[in-house]
């Protein structure tokens, strides 16, 4: 059995939800002025539906509310009756159709239903005025003429739609602010407080089966200054210890400019990462541990020097960008080398960054000896030149002639001459 309370007075709309929550923790808010909840669990506590109705009325009377109450065997019948019948309406199971019969068809369309409003005009043209008229039609005939929407309307007019309550999940706030009695200057006591707040926020995350994708920290400093930053995680995290470590590493690298008076931590909650481990899959680094490790390394060598390289879609030499390691949940089966065969060794190049400026002696258009920092020798054999150029429209434009040269020191280098400046450089060594 379900009870529905409806109040057309805007003043009582907020009190409606409180009143309903006083009787049941699971409340469906059909709209701003209508709430529905199940009264089955109250039967042992209060008694029959009559007693429950009188108890609800007593609560409403104490709060001086003006509302109508309906109790029916399904939520939709209760909503329709509460909206259209003044006072208390009590429907015993099986009598829904009888109670709904005098209601006009427009009442069905004011209900929150997945049906096109143009259908009402069609029903009026058929001469149907009330729910009784619609309920009297045969289901097959309605289905043939109006389809699924017509069948739904007919079932609603008969008060025979049974569905569970659409209970809205309470919105959880993943934000916490802490004001300090004394300004904090040292990192260690600050971390103690941050840990406490993070632990509380992570508890909220766990209770909702969520994980944090990002933590935003805002510090209020002395002299009305502010310091804020956001830490984005490669994979959603649930452990407060890992987050605290990442916050610590960030604060060590970028400390606030002054003593801290208050701070606010906010988390962005997302679905947690679900990993199905396989017996035959190779082990991968634990995501949380890897993030802390990479953050530690980034603290040493710089954020731009630690990560996963990604090639850019260009022919520009040495074009890549550093990204974070994409920790996919499962190893794809197509993980085979795309270019080289599994048993084939490929000659690769080792680069000099930046390219070594060189003095090259050219005889008959071919380099004869090369002199650069750490590279010196006569050319034994050479192949080239290969002209490459591109991106003339951008600042990254390049144009050069490349040579592969084997020097008498035994090594094989890639050298090039800039087309504009006519300067020579040693680009890399085949290794």
């Amino acid at each position: 059995m379900y009870a529905c309370i409806h109040s057309a007075v805007p003043l009582f709309r907020q009190s409606l939800l409180e009143l309903a929550r006083g009787f049941s923790p699971e409340v469906e808010q059909a709209d701003a002025s209508t709430v529905v909840f199940s009264i089955d669990p109250l039967r042992k506590l209060i008694g029959s539906p009559y007693q429950i109705a009188s108890e609800i009325c007593r609560y409403g009377h104490e709060r001086k509310m003006q509302a109508s109450l309906a109790i029916a065997s399904n939520p939709d019948a209760a909503i329709l009756l509460a909206r259209n019948c003044i006072g208390v309406t009590l429907v015993t199971p099986g009598e829904e159709q009888l109670k709904l019969a005098p209601l006009p068809l427009t009442a069905l369309f004011t209900h929150d239903i997945p049906v096109d409003g143009a259908l009402l005009e069609v029903l009026h043209r058929w001469g149907l005025k009330t729910c009784e008229d619609l309920a009297a039609l045969s289901e097959r005939g309605v289905a043939e003429r109006l389809g699924q929407a017509g069948v739904y309307l007919r079932t609603l007019a008969r008060g025979a739609i049974h569905r569970p309550l659409r209970v809205a999940a309470p919105v959880t706030n993943y934000e916490e602010r802490l004001e300090l009695e004394h300004p904090l200057q040292l990192l260690e006591p600050l971390l103690f407080l941050l840990g406490r707040v993070l632990s509380e926020l992570c508890g909220r995350l766990r209770s909702q089966s969520r994980a944090a994708r990002m933590v935003a920290a805002r510090f209020e400093l002395e002299e009305k200054k502010e310091y804020s930053f956001e830490l984005e995680f490669a994979v959603p995290l649930e452990e407060s210890r890992t987050m605290l470590k990442l916050l610590q590493l960030h604060l060590e690298r970028h400390p606030p400019e002054g003593p801290i008076l208050a701070f606010t931590l906010r988390m962005e909650a997302v679905e947690p990462r679900r990993v199905q481990a396989g017996i035959f899959l190779p082990p991968t680094p634990p995501a949380d541990k890897l993030q802390v490790t990479l953050e530690r390394i980034a603290g040493m060598v710089g954020k731009e020097n630690a990560g996963t390289p990604r090639l850019l879609n260009t022919h520009r030499p040495d074009a890549f960008e550093m990204t974070t390691l994409p920790l996919t949940d499962a190893v794809q089966s197509d993980m085979q080398p795309q270019v080289a065969g599994p048993g084939m060794l490929r000659l690769v190049m080792r680069l000099f960054r930046p390219a070594l400026h060189a003095r090259v002696h050219v005889v008959e258009y071919a380099p004869k000896d090369v002199l650069a920092s750490g590279v010196r020798g006569n050319v034994v054999r050479s192949a080239g030149p290969w002209k490459t150029s591109g991106e003339w429209w951008a600042a990254t434009a390049w144009s050069r002639e490349e040579w592969d040269v084997a020097l008498d020191d035994g090594a094989l280098y890639r050298i090039y001459q800039e087309s504009k400046s006519r300067e020579w450089y040693v680009y890399g060594v085949y290794d």
């Binding site: 270019v339 084939m344 054999r381 192949a383 094989l412």
Partner: protein, 226 residues
């Protein structure tokens, strides 16, 4: 006492404590497919150990290291490369078959301390298939300053783990801490065409596996990417 001594002599199930052998964990190997190298590493690369790959410039040391990384990333393992002199070429690596999306690259810009500490952090984080510590092109004076205790620490860190620590340098660094040492020496470059229209086709190198029971040199041919 006599009964116990008698039982020890008669029943084969009973053994003296001095006869008990210390149970060693069976060493695991990472399969290695490459003509030539697989003859040197018959079972594959040993996991939980340090393997050194040494050679001078153009000896194929980087090609062999990236080949090992390519096979590990193809198996789905996450690998790391600690690049002391910032000389790793991602385009070459991708052409050699390395899956860059499963590779962590740490660029140290010549700072050996950063390289060693990064390797230490990555090895202790665990879960990596291959960690390549690339010390090529580094000044020998800088490398000589690395304390030997670090290599012992690394050996302890990878022991009993599925990780392989690859050390790539011009000369041996880990000394007694490495389980295998592959010495590469270039033989010849292969060119096609006639001068002045030449195209590089590949590199012939000689590989010698040290610290192995059977030491015999093996010739490897490294092709250029098409």
């Amino acid at each position: 006492m006599a009964n116990i001594a008698g039982a020890l002599c008669s029943d084969e199930r009973w053994k003296r404590a001095s006869e008990l052998h210390v149970l060693h964990e069976e060493q695991k190997f990472s399969p290695l497919e490459a003509s030539g190298i697989n003859k040197l590493f018959l079972n594959g690369l040993p996991r939980g150990a340090i393997t050194e790959i040494n050679g001078r410039r153009s000896s194929g040391r980087t090609s062999v290291c990236l080949h090992i990384l390519a096979q590990a990333t193809a198996r789905g393992e996450v690998c790391a490369i600690i690049d002391l002199c910032d000389s790793f070429h991602p385009v070459s690596a991708a052409a050699a078959g390395v899956r860059l999306d499963r590779l962590i690259w740490v660029r140290c810009h010549g700072n050996a301390e950063h390289a060693i500490r990064s390797a230490d952090l990555l090895l202790h984080a665990g879960g990596f298939g291959v960690v390549l510590l690339d010390l090529c092109e580094a000044n020998p004076r800088v490398l000589n300053r690395i304390p030997l205790s670090y290599w012992y620490r690394f050996r302890r860190a990878v022991e009993h783990t599925p990780a392989i620590l690859l050390l790539c340098a011009e000369s041996p660094q880990a000394k007694s801490c490495s389980s295998h040492q592959l010495q590469l020496k270039r033989n010849a470059f292969h060119w096609s065409g006639k001068p002045p229209f030449l195209v590089l086709r590949g590199l012939q190198v000689q590989a010698l596996l040290r610290k192995a029971r059977l030491v015999c040199p093996e010739s490897l041919f490294i092709r250029t990417a098409a």
